[in-house]
């Protein structure tokens, strides 16, 4: 029997007032895959993640399934219980809380203080710079450290699917490469599935298995990362390289 995809999106549409931001998007991601969502500014990449994670209400007729369970109309706070963690653009770390408090927040929905403590220790081991700054306010961290904290907080929930929005935004190439390598390590180590929104299409496709390209809220191309990289017309028209 074939295992159901960990994330299936069917006919997903949404709008901001009169503006249609997503138009019947379909997408399937299998367990352990890293999938890129690409496109120009305003293409609908961030909206796609926000609609999947429950921050943006979908139009009627849309469907989002996680491991076969329909989660289409669940609010954002319930999605984490279904194994979906979302790191929004900019990370969304809470500047006024300490690094440790931000980290703890990600695992709060799980019962068991000991389990949360063990997971936090694991995260600090994964991100040593954060361990050194655990008592400092998150607002004092560098951009790279904040992104690490945002990813660490999301991982505290032990997600099956990680939605990651522009993790390279404003970061030095070296830090970006580290984050991309981390995603690959997590996939290899834990079977984590990642949906990665990126402006830097070439960088994203170098670490992902497949991708889809959005333009004006609609899917204009999808395929393996190799296929997308090899398609000169697509690269020039939509990916800018």
């Amino acid at each position: 029997m074939t295992e159901p995809p960990i994330l299936r999106i069917e006919n997903l549409s949404t709008r901001y007032g009169a503006v249609r931001a997503l138009r019947s998007v379909n997408m399937t991601v299998r367990r352990g895959e890293i999938c890129a969502v690409l496109g120009a500014n305003g293409a609908g990449k961030t909206t796609l993640l926000r609609t999947v994670s429950g921050l943006q209400p979908p139009d009627p007729g849309s469907r989002v399934l996680v491991d076969g369970t329909d989660v289409t109309r669940l609010p954002a706070e319930a999605m984490v219980r279904h194994g979906v963690a979302h790191v929004p653009e900019g990370g969304g770390v809470i500047a006024e809380l300490t690094v440790e408090e931000n980290m703890r927040l990600g695992g709060l929905w799980r019962a068991g203080r000991r389990e949360r403590g063990a997971k936090a220790a694991e995260m600090f081991e994964l991100f040593p710079p954060l361990a050194e700054r655990r008592t400092r306010h998150a607002g004092t961290l560098s951009g790279g450290e904040r992104q690490m904290l945002a990813i660490g907080r999301a991982l505290m929930a032990r997600p099956r699917v990680l939605l990651l929005d522009e993790p390279s935004l404003g970061l030095a190439p070296l830090i970006t490469r580290r984050i991309m390598r981390l995603l690959q390590d997590l996939r290899a180590g834990t079977g984590l599935t990642v949906v990665l929104v990126e402006q830097n299409a070439a960088g994203a496709l170098s670490v992902t298995d497949h991708g889809l390209v959005l333009s004006q809220g609609a899917v204009v191309a999808s395929g393996s990362s190799g296929e997308l990289l090899a398609d000169d017309r697509m690269r020039h028209a939509y990916l800018g390289f």
Binding site: L55, P88, A95, L97, L105
Partner: protein
């Protein structure tokens, strides 16, 4: 010297009441960016209910417990039924709702219990230098402040409440039910408001008994910083002592004017309050 000590102790006792009311305002402001102008009316109804229970049972402490419980319940209901529907719209909408609730509840209190003064008991003996009643007020506010500190700093519920207030979207993405946390905040704040009402009401209870105290409560919150619960407590105590000196040395008729002057000076020199540190935020 004795006069100075008396004024100081009296100021601390009054300041505890301002601190409690300021604290209740700050908790709600932190969570929803709304100054809850209905707070004195919520406290007033809680105190009237306590008074009714006191008359029925003869027990001050049963009435005290009823005041805290009914204060909590009214805060929860106000948030769920009145504030939640306008949440996310202009902050002015919520402020107008709280002003409307203030007028409605004060009017209702007058209709139900009349506009006359009732003799309202102190929790303990109120006579003498720093009376047991004064000490009780200060102790109660100190305990509440410590409990709040422990709640916010050391418990998962407190972390959820802070996250919900500071960054609702991130809190939701971490599984926090933001609406529930805001309701909890209103409940806790209204319970503290009811405590302030119980401390402020004696010796007489009337529909406008808490109006002046509320003005000082707002002044305390602004003095300490609307973002800082502990600033509100410190602000309340400072204001209480300051106004006591003004009353004792310059005349009681100047206390309201002095509170206003303090507000103007603080807002001009440190608009964020004396105890709020401006935090640079990357957005």
């Amino acid at each position: 010297m004795n006069h100075f000590i008396d004024l100081t102790l009296n100021g601390i006792a009054n300041g505890a009441i301002y601190a409690a009311l300021g604290l209740s305002l700050v908790i709600i402001y932190q969570a929803t960016r709304v100054v809850n102008f209905a707070q004195p009316a919520l406290a007033l109804i809680a105190v009237y209910l306590a008074y009714a229970v006191y008359l029925a049972t003869g027990s001050y402490w049963t009435g005290f417990a009823v005041a805290l419980a009914s204060g909590t319940l009214m805060g929860v209901l106000a948030e769920r039924l009145l504030i939640r529907p306008v949440h996310g719209r202009s902050p002015l909408s919520a402020i107008i709702v709280t002003l409307g609730l203030l007028l409605a509840l004060q009017g209702a209190a007058g209709m139900v219990w009349g506009n006359g003064d009732y003799s309202f008991p102190y929790p303990m003996d109120f006579r003498g230098r720093f009376s047991p009643a004064g000490a009780f007020g200060l102790g109660a506010v100190a305990v509440v402040t410590l409990l709040l500190f422990a709640l916010y700093r050391f418990t998962p519920l407190g972390l959820r409440m802070r996250a919900a207030a500071l960054h609702p979207e991130s809190a939701r993405l971490s599984g926090v039910r933001v609406g529930l946390m805001l309701t909890a905040g209103w409940g806790i704040a209204s319970a503290i408001g009811a405590l302030a009402g119980m401390l402020a009401a004696p010796p007489f209870l009337s529909p406008n008994a808490l109006d002046a105290v509320f003005v000082y409560g707002i002044a305390a919150a602004v003095l300490g910083g609307l973002e800082s619960p502990f600033g509100a407590v410190a602000g309340g105590l400072l204001l209480g002592v300051g106004l006591s000196y003004v009353s004792g040395y310059a005349g009681p008729e100047l206390t309201t004017l002095a509170a206003l002057a303090i507000l103007v000076v603080v807002l001009s020199v440190r608009p964020d309050g004396l105890f709020t540190r401006p935090v640079a935020r990357k957005v």
